[in-house]
């Protein structure tokens, strides 16, 4: 690595986070494929790795690697935006290893120790927080997440405080602080299941349809500023309007999870109306991305990063916006709630919005961290191929799950009398589950293609563009 080519040397810590994030991403997909196969071969890996354990690993790895990606992105973005070195690069490095070790230990705990034993060993009887979807982590892990998050926020906030304050860092900081604050509700577990579920959504919904959207908006705006050179004033306005719409629709949109869990009936109206508007911020992101590309003031040599960014805006709109809207109105959700339709939406939304924005950041930052303005054209072409393979693979998966969901609703939910039972219905969905595997394997191949692009050198008669050789947008 040639640190001299970085604008601020302390940005270099983000490299660690990006590599860690991508490694965990591979793990997530491997477990995802295992889960897909278990849908078809029910006793696969049983009793060594039952479905619930594999699923916990799959979803927890997703959360951890995305958080790692957000942190890495913040460590790269904030010094550049604040025009000052990171408050403490050493703290950032230490936190990475703490976070990685805690994550790895947790995953090993899931895989090697029976869950009930793990709960007993880790103090779940003192404060019961485990065994709730996505929040399965043992108490020490949850506390560790809080400590790492606070130290990270301290580091980032101090950097912003001593440097230039931009709309991007402000929105990013609000998103990251919001993320940490909402996570505190993971320690709230009332014995009344209805209240438990209500507070559980404070973490889950107000992360992915609230605070994370601020992070998404800020990262997207950063990549677009850097690659298109459009004026800050224009980009800032877009960013503020997008995050306004995200929170105005998303906060009361929480109500779309309150339809059928015992909450008062007025949430059917509040949730339906506000979540029906939730596609708007995502549609604005798509307009934003295309608009900025059209008004670009420079041809940035890293065209791959731009593809990931525009892809993120489009796929985020499709996954979070369109697939979310499909089943968000309460009369529709009455039939689709907890079906494969939900799974289809979850996969496309996470991929489109959050996976792609992290990869867009990595794609933009990694060449610079490795001492060049952009990757060689050959490597970029591999990267662009990987975008299409992953995206089409995800598309196949999501269409398959949507098909499975529609058939499931038709057989199991719609009939008032003589409806088919759950397992009998599952047998009818096998075609779609195989199709989902095709998409899943394709996705893994796309991911491996992406990773291979890091090792592709320049073609013959192609010179590398060193970082800093081109005037970079402020």
């Amino acid at each position: 690595m040639k640190p001299t080519t970085l604008k601020y040397q302390s940005q270099a810590v983000s490299k660690l986070y990006f590599i860690g994030a991508l490694a965990l991403f591979v793990g997530q997909i491997v477990f995802g494929i295992t889960l897909g196969l278990q849908y078809l071969i029910g006793d696969l890996m049983f009793p060594a790795i039952p479905f619930n354990i594999a699923r916990m690993v799959h979803t927890n790895l997703l959360i951890v690697w995305l958080l790692m990606g957000f942190m890495g992105s913040a460590y790269f973005l904030v010094p550049e935006e604040a025009e000052t070195e990171l408050y403490s690069p050493l703290l950032a490095k230490i936190l990475f290893w703490v976070f990685l070790a805690a994550g790895a230990l947790t995953i090993l705990g899931y895989l090697l120790v029976p869950y009930a034993t793990l709960a007993e060993m880790t103090g779940n009887n003192l404060l019961a927080t485990m065994g709730r979807e996505f929040l399965e982590q043992p108490l020490p892990t949850k506390l560790g997440i809080v400590v790492v998050a606070l130290a990270f926020l301290f580091n980032i906030s101090m950097t912003v405080l001593k440097g230039r304050k931009t709309a991007i860092t402000l929105v990013l900081l609000m998103g990251l602080w919001g993320l940490a604050v909402m996570f505190l509700f993971s320690f709230v577990n009332p014995s009344n299941l209805v209240r438990d579920k209500m507070y559980w959504w404070f973490v889950v919904h107000l992360w992915v349809e609230g605070t994370w959207e601020l992070i998404l908006g800020a990262l997207l705006a950063f990549v677009l500023i850097k690659t298109t050179g459009v004026d800050r004033e224009v980009i800032d306005k877009w960013l503020y309007l997008i995050v306004t719409m995200a929170l105005v629709t998303g906060i009361l949109g929480t109500g779309h999870h309150f339809f059928f869990i015992g909450m008062p009936g007025y949430w059917l109206w509040v949730g339906s109306v506000f979540s029906a508007f939730e596609p708007i911020p995502f549609f604005m992101m798509t307009l934003f991305a295309f608009n900025m590309v059209q008004r670009r003031k420079r041809e940035h040599p890293n065209q791959a990063a731009l593809l990931w960014a525009v892809g993120c805006a489009v796929m985020g709109f499709l996954g979070a916006g369109v697939w979310g809207f499909l089943h968000t109105l309460s009369p529709v959700n009455y039939y689709t709630h907890g079906s494969q339709i939900t799974a289809a939406h979850g996969h496309l939304a996470f991929y489109g919005a959050y996976v792609l924005v992290v990869i867009a950041m990595i794609s933009y930052a990694m060449p610079i961290l490795r001492g060049r303005e952009a990757n060689p054209r050959r490597a970029q072409s591999v990267e662009m191929w990987s975008f299409w393979i992953m995206t089409i693979g995800m598309g196949v998966m999501v269409l398959a799950l949507t098909g499975a969901g529609i058939l499931q609703v038709w057989l199991q939910r719609m009939p008032t009398e003589g409806a088919m039972g759950f397992m009998a219905t599952q047998d009818q969905l096998r075609f779609f589950y195989w199709l989902r595997m095709v998409g899943g394997v394709m996705f893994l191949l796309g991911l491996l293609t992406y990773l291979s692009s890091f090792f592709v050198g320049p073609g013959r008669a192609e010179d590398e563009v060193p970082a800093g050789a081109l005037p970079r947008a402020a």
Binding site: F46, P50, E233, L241, V248, F260, M263, Y334, F422
Partner: protein, 141 residues
């Protein structure tokens, strides 16, 4: 975006809009909190139900099943299983796992004793009684 519309104005709309909806949300949650006890028959929330919820959580049941439609979609909905199968079937089913039928989805055996099974069934019975807008549409969940 017209000329007169500055990024400061956009920022103020963001702050104002967010604050307004945060407060509105907080008010609705406060109101919901008052109504939850009645909708969930909180009076019947016995120690056995609480112990049953703890078993439910520490065996990570949500990793395969849904409860009131939330969880994993690998195994049947259990919010209404008390009505669908009845207490004796539930206990016998849990005790007889795994079935070992080749190629079929398998549920682990959690070695629950009779007390734990009773508690779990109590939790499922109480959950079945929650007023949740008549979901699921039919008994199959």
């Amino acid at each position: 975006m017209s000329r007169g519309f500055t990024s400061q104005m956009a920022r103020n709309i963001f702050y104002g809009g967010t604050l307004f909806f945060v407060l509105l949300f907080a008010a609705l949650i406060f109101d919901s909190e008052q109504r939850i006890p009645k909708r969930s028959n909180a009076g019947e929330l016995t120690p056995a139900v609480v112990r049953g919820k703890h078993i439910w959580e520490t065996r990570n049941c949500i990793g395969c099943h849904t409860l009131l439609g939330e969880g994993a979609y690998f195994a049947p909905e259990l919010g209404n299983v008390y009505k669908r199968r009845g207490p004796d079937f539930i206990k016998a089913w849990i005790k007889s796992q795994p079935t070992g039928a080749p190629g079929r989805r398998q549920m682990p055996n959690f070695q629950l004793n009779d007390q734990q099974l009773d508690d779990l069934v109590e939790f499922l019975r109480w959950t079945n009684g929650i007023d949740n807008e008549k979901w699921p549409p039919n008994i199959e969940g």
